[in-house]
Symmetry: C2
DNA sequence: CCTTAGCACTCGACCTTATAGAGTGCTAAC
DNA sequence: GTTAGCACTCTATAAGGTCGAGTGCTAAGG
């Protein structure tokens, strides 16, 4: 009984692996010949009929071979696949490419998107850290012109964010310096959630005008940190990679798929649902209609143990899951190293 | 003689305008019926034969109608087309959308890309200002950590640019403030080309350490202003729009076309060739192979009379030239207003 | 001499039909 | 339980046929 089941699984695995490569329905003969399972095509045929009954295989039509169902892929990724380590040479070359961007988070993240697409031949999705999840290290106010000022926010993770503010009245250079100092005195190392009205009260001893400025600025700061416009952005690469796969031979499908990439915010929102651990989302398990014909694999990267963002790959359901999982694991690990190295040294021990 | 030529041109215009809409070879009957030229199909047939001999029309095969050649489009845009003003209502709604981003150059430019794509149903290309062409108003140095500092550059046009610098040794807060002041004293209102070694000599009276910092910073500043990595970036919108047109029904064409959009720098370089006035580049007149099947229309936007960047539209050769020209003209004009308004008021009168 | 109606001709688009072959399910023998 | 054999199914591909839009040419008319 168990042995039989074993054989069924072997056959299923063979079919899936073959289909991932060929994208064409697999017949019993093919399996019997290519994979040495020690049984004849007829036996395999019987097993395949069983597997079909179990909802794991689908026959496009009577006289065609069989194709794995989404349920089969689910089974495959949960139980059947064996993840291999990446090639040493590949790993080395990846590490080398990261080296050129040491300490440059943004660049490293962008690179990750490029590498993901290159290494998998699918489409990569990489979410940048959401600034609300970070901790302010420093806020600098710079006078642009009259009542327009630039607010530069630097987080502990050394992520930099600019934001222009228009105040209700003109501000002088000296005043701004003072405001910057006050702001930093209170804000330094604070979590966003602690920047609240109490803070404003604490600084009531300032002149009315300065107080007004500060309120303006703080409300802007909160907006930057919390608002939609400044949410995490998405890097994506290799959109055209998918056009190489026969499942995207249909122009309408391509259009439907590419359109979602015009609205990157939607994808960003989606990825945020997978903000911890790794996920494999197959076909109709996807909530976004554009991804119903695709599979999405995700992993995350961290700073100081805290999740910063999600990296992922979209491809056809007939995806090389083993390989993508390896690539994601390795890249997320390298990106972690890249972000975390040397950062504990001085300023970030307290908390 | 001249009258005959007149009729030929009318027929050609009719064919082109019809083909722009239908994308199908036009027969003599169609022209005779749809466009009241007062002559019979037979006459038109004769004229069409002439036009073909002149290289202005092409017959896909013997028993098909005729299609305009690229030469015909060239003639059309040079002599035949009549540009109409945009609809008042449309113009108003465009102006309204700009209003939300008053004084925010970057946002306004992004909006322009979006509007261009929406209004034309083609793909838009919008180049941001190249910072080298701008004039520094202010440079602010912010200490991130140890020897890492952030350089924020603000130009007269209020374009903001960040750049991280790693110095050869650690720097203190106070030192950095001093350096910022020195830098600004010299740099203010200077054209990039004037930030040179002479400047460095002028400040030789500083301590060796500070001098070293300053040299580091200035060389970095020059890099930002001149280097490839900081060249103008490209906004693009409506890439999928083109998939609606029958000339892009071929997956391979789509792939070929979309691939160039992965390498935006190439397109940016291309657009820089059209940095003044308006241009219409038809089909094989394009230097980029990906655009050989397309036409590219460009215009520019200015600050204080100086060209800042290029805006453009790519679409099928069978493009609605009249309309695109109108849209480009209007948007470039509105973008100009948006950028130039209120900016002369205070700081930018000298020069 | 230019214009136009008439007509035979051309050729791709599309539909129909025929054929080949991959793959199946079933049966009977091992 | 496994396997060889075989009739059957169904798609993909090719081949042939028809239709119609559009042409070029000719000859008649203003």
């Amino acid at each position: 009984m168990d042995k039989m089941k074993e054989r069924k699984l072997s056959i299923l695995r063979a079919i899936i692996q073959d289909y991932i490569i060929t994208a064409e329905p697999i017949g019993s003969r093919t399996i019997a010949k290519k994979y040495n399972l020690g049984v004849s095509a007829a036996t395999i045929r019987n097993e395949m009929a069983d597997l079909e009954e179990m909802g794991l295989l689908i026959q496009p039509h009577t006289s065609a071979g069989r194709v794995p169902s989404e349920k089969a892929y689910r089974l495959y990724v949960d139980q059947l696949m064996q993840i291999k380590k990446l090639d040493e040479i590949v790993e080395k070359s990846i590490r080398d490419s990261y080296k050129q961007y040491v300490e440059q988070i943004e660049k490293s993240i962008e690179l990750t998107a490029k590498l993901l697409a290159q290494l998998t031949s699918y489409t990569s999705l990489v979410l940048t850290p959401e600034i609300r999840s970070l901790n302010c290290k420093l806020v600098q106010l710079i006078r642009i012109q009259d009542e327009r000022i630039l607010m530069v926010i630097i987080t502990k993770e050394n992520v930099v964010k600019n934001h222009e503010i228009v105040l209700s009245q003109s501000v002088e250079e000296a005043e701004l310096t003072k405001l910057t100092n006050i702001l930093n005195y209170f804000i330094k190392d604070l979590d966003i959630s602690m920047i609240n009205s109490e803070l404003i009260k604490e600084i009531d001893q300032l002149s009315i005008k300065e107080n007004q400025f500060l309120q303006d600025i703080i409300s802007n700061l909160k907006n930057v940190l919390l608002d939609s416009d400044n949410k995490n952005t998405l890097y994506s690469n290799g959109m055209t990679n998918l056009l190489n796969y026969p499942e995207f031979n249909d122009i309408d499908k391509v259009k439907h798929f590419l359109e979602i990439f015009q609205e990157k915010q939607t994808i960003a929102e989606l990825l945020k649902n997978y903000a911890n651990g790794t996920h494999i989302v197959i076909g109709n398990e996807n909530t976004i209609s554009q991804f119903k014909d695709c599979s999405l694999l995700t992993a995350t990267y961290q700073f100081n143990g805290q999740n910063l963002g999600t990296i992922g790959v979209v491809g056809p359901i007939r995806m090389n899951y083993d390989h993508v999982v390896s690539v994601l694991a390795f890249l997320s690990q390298e990106l972690n190293k890249q972000i975390n190295q040397n950062r504990y040294s001085k300023n970030t021990d307290e908390r």
